[in-house]
Structure formats: structure tokens, C-alpha cells
């Protein structure tokens, strides 16, 4: 190891120093540490090659690709309903949310609009997937920083949301419920009342996390001022979602550039931003977003119109020629699908713009000069899902 050479170098330096007021530059050899791919802090198989100088990070470079499944190549040989099943698994925690931009892009090319009831339910499930995703994030962030109890509370309260998603769609994790032109099925009886109750429990959970985690002094000292990303850097890297809003940029696709097919103009809600751009800001914005999502769901539940849940679409879906890009405000950030169609059963090319890909590319920039524990803190606050980075 390096200890012997350090001592020799130090002896040489001491011998060369003429008086005590000479600044001794401690020449320590850096250490290269592989964080991952198997590691509790990285949500999945992400490898980070960190060059350390003691506890300080000189450079941290993520090496993704351990979970690359070749989605974009696969979409060239799969029909649109089959792709719907596949893309559920990109961001597997908020899985309904993955389907939505793709379905909206296909609907745009086909010129089909989902009936209002389907649009409402689609938005409700979209927001519920956001809640499911981010509530896990908050608990898991506490877990990574050492407050393991927060993680358990998150899993416990997330179950309420997952139960509701399962009641409606049949799948807790991979609902595969969205269809071009509407939804697969209508809601079961009693779902609306149960979901109201689930949202109330979620709001209580958010308050609990506020007290347990956000107000904790140690949590604040681990996250305030750590990993500050200024707004222009955030925009240049393409950070999206809570990461961007925590740097002070007031942009939310749901409000500013919402694609047709969602029901956001029927509800009253706020977009939260935070001026600091540090880990605490990102966590705080996400917590507020979870509350807002619960409120949106409650408002929408009271307003669901009647009617069919599926528009008139042919049984075999052939999307006309054209290109369409639809981006939505997914739980992890801005997710978009660029669909190029040549009029077949199968798209010609689908480019998947996943949020975590851009979110993690900022890591080399933000990790310079941080400590190793801060690296965990920053990674946790940027929040990624491996499936989203690697596709």
C-alpha cells in the first residue's frame, strides 16, 4: 500500500524544509475507490470510479451500463402495445408514469384523443405513481444517511398507494394499464373512496417525514450546502424535475408545456421551487411535490366525469407516418419519447429521453471537492433509478 512511500516522501520533505515556516505540502498519493456496482448506496448497479485524496473526492465518474437492456433497439421490433409493456420497466418505481408519454406520442400521431374519463384516471394514476416513487425516495434517503427508521416508514405508507394501484390495474409495480386511446379498464367499485383514504394517509406520512427527517439537525448538517448546483449548470446539463426546481428554475412541464391528454387544467395546484440548489432543497422540493400530488389526486377524484374509458381505435394499431416527441413531468424528472413512425405496426425509431440519464451526468461536476459521505448524500438527493439511466 502507500504508507511506506508516504513516510519516505515526508521525510524527504522535512529534510528539505529550511525553517518551520515553510509550508509543507503533504504529498499523499490518491486512492481510487470503486463505489459499486454492488453497493447499498447506489440504487442498483451503478459504478462510480472515485479518485480520493484522503476523504476528499478529486474526481468521481459514473460508469453506467451494467443494466443496459437495449430498449431502443427492442422498440424497432415490437408493436406499440408490446412496447407499452416494456417501457413500464424503465423507471420501475413509478411505472405507470413511463407509459404515459409514449402513449401520448402515439395518440398524437394517430390523431386520437382519449375520452375525458380516461384522461382523468390517467392523470390520477400518473400522480399516484409519482407519490409511490418519491415516498420511497424520501425514506431511502434517510436510510442512506443512516436514519434507517425513515426507510421502513416509507415502505409501510407506500403500501397504501400500491394497494390502490393494484386494485385499479392489477399490478403493483408494472401496471401496464395505459392504452392508445384510453385505458385498459374502468375503475373498480369503491376505489374512489379508498383512494381518498390512502391519500390522507400519505399526507400524514409527509408530515411525519417532515418531523423525523427534515427537521433533524444531523440530517440538515448532512444536506444543507452540500452539492450545490447553480441554475445555469442545471439547465445546461438538462437536469429536470425536482433537481431543476430546487436550483430555483420555475419550470414544470405539467403547468408549462403539458401535452394534450392529461387533466391538469382541471385542478388547482402549486409548483414548488427552492433557491438553494443543495441536497436539502432537492429533498424538500420532492416532499412538497408528494403533498401536491396527493392533493391533486384528491381534487381529481371528486371530478371524474362519466363516460367510456377507451376511444374508438382499431384493434391492430398502425400508427401513421410521422414524428412526435412528447415529454411529461415524470417522478424522476422530464421523460420523453421521440417516436418516428413509418406507418407500420412497429415504430421505426424510438428515442427514449430518460430523466436520470441527465441527472446523473452532472455527478462529475458536482462531486469535485466533496467528501466521500457527501458523495452518498449527493447521489441520494439527485435520485435516480438504474433502469432509467441504463434503459
Amino acid at each position: 500500500m502507500t504508507a511506506t512511500s508516504d513516510r519516505d516522501q515526508l521525510d524527504a520533505l522535512v529534510a528539505r524544509a529550511h525553517d518551520n515556516r515553510v509550508n509543507l505540502d503533504f504529498e499523499t498519493e490518491g486512492m481510487t475507490l470503486n463505489i459499486g456496482p454492488q453497493h447499498p448506496a447506489t440504487h442498483g448497479t451503478l459504478r462510480i470510479v472515485a479518485r480520493l485524496d484522503g476523504e476528499e473526492v478529486v474526481s468521481a465518474e459514473p460508469v453506467p451500463g451494467y443494466m443496459h437492456r437495449g430498449y431502443e433497439k427492442l422498440t424497432e421490433v415490437r408493436s406499440y402495445p408490446q412496447i407499452n409493456t416494456l417501457i413500464n420497466r424503465i423507471d420501475w418505481l413509478g411505472s405507470f408514469a413511463n407509459e404515459v408519454p409514449f402513449i401520448l406520442a402515439a395518440e398524437k400521431l394517430m390523431g386520437v384523443e382519449a375520452p375525458p374519463r380516461a384522461q382523468f384516471i390517467r392523470t390520477i394514476l400518473f400522480e399516484m405513481s409519482r407519490i409511490a416513487n418519491i415516498s420511497l425516495f424520501i425514506g431511502d434517503y434517510g436510510l442512506q444517511l443512516g436514519g434507517m427508521t425513515a426507510g421502513f416508514y416509507a415502505f409501510r405508507d407506500r403500501e397504501h398507494v400500491l394497494n390502490q394501484i393494484e386494485a385499479a390495474t392489477g399490478g403493483r409495480f408494472h401496471p401496464n394499464f395505459d392504452r392508445i386511446g384510453g385505458l385498459k379498464d374502468d375503475l373498480p367499485k369503491g376505489w374512489i373512496a379508498d383512494t381518498h383514504a390512502a391519500m390522507d394517509k400519505l399526507l400524514a406520512f409527509c408530515d411525519e417525514m417532515d418531523a423525523l427527517l427534515m427537521g433533524n439537525e444531523i440530517f440538515q448538517s448532512r444536506t444543507r450546502g452540500i452539492g450545490v448546483i447553480p441554475a445555469d449548470i442545471a439547465l445546461s446539463y438538462g437536469l429536470s424535475g425536482a433537481n431543476l426546481r430546487a436550483s430555483g428554475v420555475d419550470w414544470d412541464i405539467r403547468r408549462d408545456a403539458c401535452p394534450p391528454g392529461m387533466a391538469y387544467d382541471e385542478v388547482d395546484w402549486t409548483v414548488w421551487t427552492h433557491p438553494d440548489g443543495d441536497c436539502y432543497g432537492r429533498t424538500w422540493v420532492r416532499l412538497q411535490e408528494t403533498r401536491e400530488a396527493a392533493k391533486i389526486v384528491k381534487q381529481l377524484l371528486d371530478k371524474i366525469p362519466g363516460g367510456p374509458v377507451m376511444a374508438k381505435v382499431p384493434r391492430i394499431i398502425k400508427v401513421p407516418e410521422g414524428e412526435a416527441y412528447v415529454e411529461t413531468e415524470n417522478p424522476l424528472g422530464a421523460m420523453g419519447y421521440y417516436v418516428v413512425s413509418k406507418g407500420d405496426l412497429v415504430p421505426f425509431r424510438v428515442k427514449i429521453r430518460s430523466a436520470s440519464f441527465n441527472n446523473i451526468s452532472v455527478l462529475p461536476w458536482v462531486a469535485r471537492g466533496a467528501y466521500v459521505p457527501d458523495l452518498v448524500s449527493i447521489l441520494g438527493s439527485l435520485y435516480f433509478i438504474l433502469g432509467d439511466i441504463d434503459r
Partner: protein
């Protein structure tokens, strides 16, 4: 929907009867297109606007970097994505993979279908496409650029838009495109000794074509170092 031909300003397609106004002009996007054209001059080769929806602009290859700089100056600060499209129809057919790979099995490949580009036209097989957004005005622009068939290269955007770094690395390894001036042209997803460019249409999807086992492979070297250090982590 909108025809593939590159209409720049008004959609004068007569079949669009279900639009409220007969001739819809998207003024905001038209204004962006006009400003970009005035900044780049004849660097803008072609464009396409889908009113109320999106804007596509195709630029000349030598002006690709200037395009990025001008867009940044115009306020498009949010970098969305950068990728490439291979317009050649797949010689293996685009049916589900349950169908046998006939070309692999020894049949002659069918006559290649003509290469037809999409919105804002195109002349070559490969096109790089990028999307940037102005968060103040909530508008986005798709940029397309043709790549020469015998020299797949274009300037890098990674110093203008920092996020382009990873997107260009992915396009490099998936399509074989060189981004001139990229600071770290190392493979992103694929192993360092992977052969072929997966997202090209003539790269078969399935491992039905069995590759010979390469034998004992060395430990993956650290990014940035040529030889493998044999890290024992």
C-alpha cells in the same frame, strides 16, 4: 397527420378539416424559426412546423456548432437530448423477432427499401437530432443535421451544453458517429471491446447469430487509462 414534405410556414394541407382554423399559423414557433434563420443565414437547410406542437429545423453540417451557440444565445438553455436516427430500413425486416432471421440463415437479403427521411427532410442515411428547450417561453426546437455517409462525424456540443457529453458518447458507441472535439470519447454503456454499432439498422438484434466465445477476457480497465491496472475491487 402532417405530410412528410417540409412545409415551413403554414400547413396548407387540404385534408386537415378537423382543425378549427383553416390555415393555422404558429406565430411563436415561426418567430423562432425566423430568428434562427436570420442568425445562421443559409445554414438552415430545411424546417417543419407542426402548429401548436413542435418545430424541426435542419441545418448544415459545418454550421452545427454555430447552431448550438446561437440557440444558447437565443435563450434555449435547457438541453434535452441528442441522438441519431438511421434512416435505412432494416434489412432484417421489422417484424417481431419470433420470425426467423432469414438473412442470417443464408437467404439473400431482400432488396433494400428506399431510404426516406422524416420531417425537415434529409439527404443522408444518418442524421443527428438534438432537442433544446427555452424554459422561459416553454418552447422547444428539434435540430437535425445530415452526416456524410463515408465520414460519420460532426462537431461536438459538449462545451456549449454540458449535458451533451453523455448523449454524444452514447451516440458514438451506438451508431459509430465521431463527435469532433469531444473531451472523453469513451464508450458509455457497452464494454470496451464490443464490436459493432448496435443501433444501426444493419446490426441484427438477436443473439441468434452466435458469436464465438472470446475466451478469457481481461479485467475492464479504468476509464481514462489505457492498460488495465488489475484493480482488485
Amino acid at each position: 397527420m402532417s405530410p412528410l414534405s417540409s412545409a415551413d410556414t403554414t400547413t396548407d394541407a387540404p385534408a386537415e378539416d378537423d382543425v378549427e382554423v383553416e390555415v393555422e399559423v404558429d406565430e411563436r414557433r415561426q418567430a423562432i424559426l425566423d430568428e434562427l434563420t436570420s442568425r445562421l443565414g443559409d445554414g438552415v437547410v430545411d424546417s417543419h412546423i407542426r402548429p401548436g406542437d413542435d418545430l424541426w429545423v435542419r441545418v448544415e453540417r459545418p454550421r452545427w456548432r454555430d447552431t448550438g451557440a446561437e440557440l444558447k444565445a437565443m435563450g434555449f438553455a435547457f438541453f434535452d437530448f441528442l441522438s441519431a436516427i438511421d434512416w435505412m430500413p432494416s434489412p432484417y425486416g421489422r417484424d417481431m423477432d419470433a420470425q426467423e432471421d432469414r438473412v442470417v440463415a443464408g437467404e439473400a437479403p431482400p432488396d433494400p427499401a428506399p431510404v426516406e427521411q422524416g420531417y425537415a427532410g434529409g439527404d443522408t442515411r444518418f442524421q443527428v437530432i438534438a432537442h433544446v428547450i427555452d424554459v422561459e417561453r416553454s418552447l422547444g426546437v428539434h435540430l437535425k443535421v445530415d452526416l456524410l455517409d463515408d465520414e460519420l462525424s460532426v462537431d461536438t456540443w459538449s462545451d456549449l451544453y454540458l449535458g451533451a457529453n453523455w448523449h454524444e458518447r452514447e451516440a458514438m458507441e451506438m451508431f459509430g458517429i465521431t463527435f469532433l472535439g469531444h473531451p472523453n470519447p469513451v464508450k458509455l454503456y457497452l464494454p470496451h471491446d464490443f464490436q459493432g454499432f448496435p443501433l444501426r439498422k444493419d446490426f441484427p438484434l438477436l443473439a441468434r447469430r452466435v458469436r464465438p466465445w472470446p475466451g478469457i477476457v481481461d479485467v475492464e480497465p479504468m476509464p481514462g487509462s489505457d492498460s488495465d491496472d488489475g484493480e482488485d475491487e
